[in-house]
């Protein structure tokens, strides 16, 4: 199958380092799979890991035909390679659209809908319905790969981190910010996420790109289901419980579980709980399947602890929707949705290292992208921004803490909202020095991690 033709294809190269890192993920997958099926599993955590890391540090400048890297795997598991290849095409096409110069956000969103349609019409498409991740990760072989090969599993989850974290970097953000944003995202990927062996569960799209996942839940779900298929296949290939014939059969069953055709006629939000056809999702996040230990409103995120996807990550008040959607904060490998600029700034300042804030302005066509260095000095893609910050109760924080693209826009808002008539516009240089600490409304959910034994409390 060839991808949907369009002028946006391969626009990923507008951010060359991002393109190279993404191409490198394909090589990394391929080398590991080929080793697993050519009797080199015992070298996976040693010389093969080293050779993969070497590639990831010197990634290819052009995409690699995965079939050429894993010829033995492809001959043995051809149908699986097709499913992977087609889903990877969906990755690259959606990235291509978002990175494409010259189209409006509306044009891009419409084309992504068409790409999803094009993708999902094919027989080897993965379902866009949310699937129960606990069920899919609950087979007798589950966990075998991460236990046996923790370093290589860290690489796999690192690739999947990059393949999911990039979407909020690109979605409705100006293309000229993609390069500067990727300096932060790419550094995190290459220096930390690839080598993270502490993650308790694979990265989820809704966790790392919540805005994109809310807007395109089917695509987000298909990526998560794809990545779970990778985990299933890794575990099947790694387990000692199965013969070669049984492994082949189990891989076919794992493919069948996630195919769109298997779930035809089923509906998101419905289905028998804790079954293969459980399509529930957490409140506020239709682009994420049911996670281990989740309730309707709370779920556990590796590295962040228990979260409510409907609430601000900083003040725990319900998130706004529509054009004034608030902001997202990306730092330390996670991305959280927040209600206002104060929540964004103060949440970012709680973390060490670089951060990115993507925020709604008064103009729905202009998204603010703020990038900070390690010292908390922010740079903006919009040169004339001013802030409003008149601290009051957090349930209204998205009214009194805002950013405007210009002084004129600020004045217009003040004119419409006389409550703030005494407020002065705050420049970025002053705004970034402020910090109001943790809001009184913040509610930490103290429950143990569902992935840890002995009742240990998660981070």
């Amino acid at each position: 199958m060839f991808y949907k033709p369009g002028p946006y294809n391969w626009s990923i190269r507008n951010v060359p380092q991002f393109a190279a890192d993404m191409y490198g993920t394909g090589v990394g997958h391929g080398i590991a799979y080929e080793a697993l099926v050519t009797g080199q599993a015992d070298k996976l955590e040693g010389p093969i890991y080293d050779s993969i890391v070497k590639v990831l540090k010197n990634p290819p400048r052009l995409p690699i035909d995965e079939g050429a890297i894993l010829p033995t795997f492809k001959r043995r598991y051809g149908e699986l390679e097709k499913v992977f290849d087609w889903a990877h095409t969906l990755h690259f096409q959606t990235i291509g659209v978002l990175a494409h110069r010259g189209w409006t956000d509306a044009q891009k969103e419409a084309e992504i809908e068409r790409i999803w349609q094009f993708y999902s019409e094919q027989p080897y498409a993965i379902t866009g319905l949310p699937l129960n991740m606990e069920v899919l990760d609950g087979y007798s072989y589950s966990g075998a790969f991460r236990t046996k090969y923790p370093k290589v599993n860290g690489l796999f989850w690192g690739y999947h981190w990059l393949q999911t974290a990039n979407y909020d970097m690109l979605y409705r953000t100006p293309v000229e910010t993609h390069g500067p944003q990727y300096q932060v995202v790419g550094e995190r990927y290459r220096e930390t996420e690839l080598f993270n062996t502490e993650r308790e569960f694979m990265p989820m799209t809704g966790e790392l790109s919540p805005r994109f996942a809310k807007r395109f839940p089917e695509i987000a779900n298909s990526f998560d289901n794809l990545h779970m298929l990778h985990d299933n296949v890794n575990d099947i290939l790694a387990t000692n419980e199965l013969t070669e014939v049984q492994k082949k059969q189990q891989i076919r069953i794992a493919i069948w579980r996630v195919l769109a055709t298997t779930h035809q006629g089923e509906t998101a939000g419905e289905g028998e709980a804790n079954s293969l056809h459980d399509h529930r999702y957490p409140f506020g996040m239709p682009g994420m399947g049911w996670m281990k230990g989740a309730t309707e409103s709370e779920m556990y995120m590796s590295g962040m602890g228990w979260m409510n996807m409907e609430e601000c990550g900083h003040c725990s008040i319900r998130l706004p929707s529509g054009d004034e959607w608030g902001a997202t904060v990306s730092a330390n490998g996670w991305t959280m949705m927040v209600r206002c600029m104060l929540c964004a700034r103060d949440m970012a300042s709680e973390t060490i290292g670089k951060a990115i804030i993507r925020a709604a302005t008064e103009d729905p066509k202009q998204t603010l992208v703020l990038i900070s260095d390690e010292l908390g000095n922010w740079t903006s893609n919009l040169p004339e921004i001013v802030f409003l910050e008149v601290k009051a109760d957090h349930p209204e924080c998205n009214d009194w803490s805002k950013v405007f693209t210009s002084r004129r826009a600020f004045d217009a808002y003040i004119a419409e909202n006389p409550d703030y008539k005494d407020a002065q516009p705050i420049a970025l240089s002053e705004w970034q020095t402020r910090n109001e600490g943790t809001p009184e409304t913040y509610r930490r959910i103290n429950r143990p991690s569902p992935y840890q034994r002995n009742g240990e409390v998660g981070p």
Partner: protein, 257 residues
């Protein structure tokens, strides 16, 4: 889940193969050598391939054949092509419109475990020069199989039938090409493929026997969907020394879109 449901769910997958897009590791006849691998271009892909082969003969016996081909993956594992092959003969310093060629390529089976990939390619060549008549019908059977890990061997069996052969030409000629491809640069830069070829061909001239050729080339990926190719080919031995040709140099470029 029953075995039947699983089989139904996966059954359709077993009949389909993701065709390779324009890629250094997907070898087509003429780019740069004359053998094919048993893979079509991808379903829905359009590709333009062009190039020139110069025959460096002695004296003024230089000649060149151009190639400009459009291919379309019209169905899964199948493509249709239309190619124009203009020619230049150094001996009489004359260009000719050459031949227009229509092709149909179909992969019958992908490579599964130790079973080779199988494909065929049919062609109809129509002369473009005024006064020439008849068509040339060609049929090529293709078998591709992995040798070690990354390298492959490709057997191409050719039968070419001229419906109205010139006086002194045979109407049916046979040929066998053995191709070899090995993608280079693993694991860091998997962007080029070494190709080599050894062939036996029956001379088109009645009364002449078989000759053999040898060739070597490189396919270099230069963009996401573009490949540059370079190849050299020479006659190794021939049944008639008078028919021995010079070294052929091929340069070409392929792009998918």
């Amino acid at each position: 889940m029953t075995a039947t449901r699983l089989a139904a769910g996966l059954g359709i997958l077993g009949t389909l193969t993701l065709g390779l897009a324009t890629d250094h590791n997907n070898v087509d006849a003429g780019r740069p050598l004359r053998f094919d691998d048993a893979s079509s271009i991808a379903f829905g892909e359009r590709a333009i391939e062009w190039g020139v082969t110069g025959n460096l003969g002695r004296g003024r016996n230089n000649s060149a054949v151009g190639a400009l081909e459009f291919k379309y993956g019209f169905a899964k594992n199948q493509d249709l092509g239309i190619a124009w092959h203009p020619q230049y003969a150094g001996a009489n310093q004359r260009f000719s419109a050459g031949e227009l060629e229509f092709t149909h390529f179909r992969q019958i089976q992908r490579e599964i475990n130790s079973s080779p990939a199988l494909a065929y390619r049919m062609k109809i060549g129509v002369p473009m020069e005024r006064g020439e008549s008849g068509v040339e019908l060609g049929m090529r059977g293709i078998l591709s199989t992995t040798l070690r890990q990354y390298d492959k061997i490709h057997f191409n069996l050719d039968a070419t039938l001229a419906t109205e052969p010139e006086p002194g030409e045979r109407d049916l000629a046979w040929g066998l090409l053995v191709g070899y491809s090995n993608p280079l640069g693993a694991p860091t830069q998997f962007d080029k493929t070494l190709v080599a070829q050894f062939g036996f061909e029956q001379s088109r001239r009645a009364g002449e026997g078989w000759f053999s050729t040898v060739g070597v080339g490189l396919r270099q990926q230069v963009a996401e969907q573009a490949v540059f190719d370079f190849g050299l080919e020479a006659d190794l031995w021939s049944g008639s020394s008078s028919r021995r040709r010079g070294v052929r140099i091929t340069l070409g470029y392929s792009m998918g879109f």
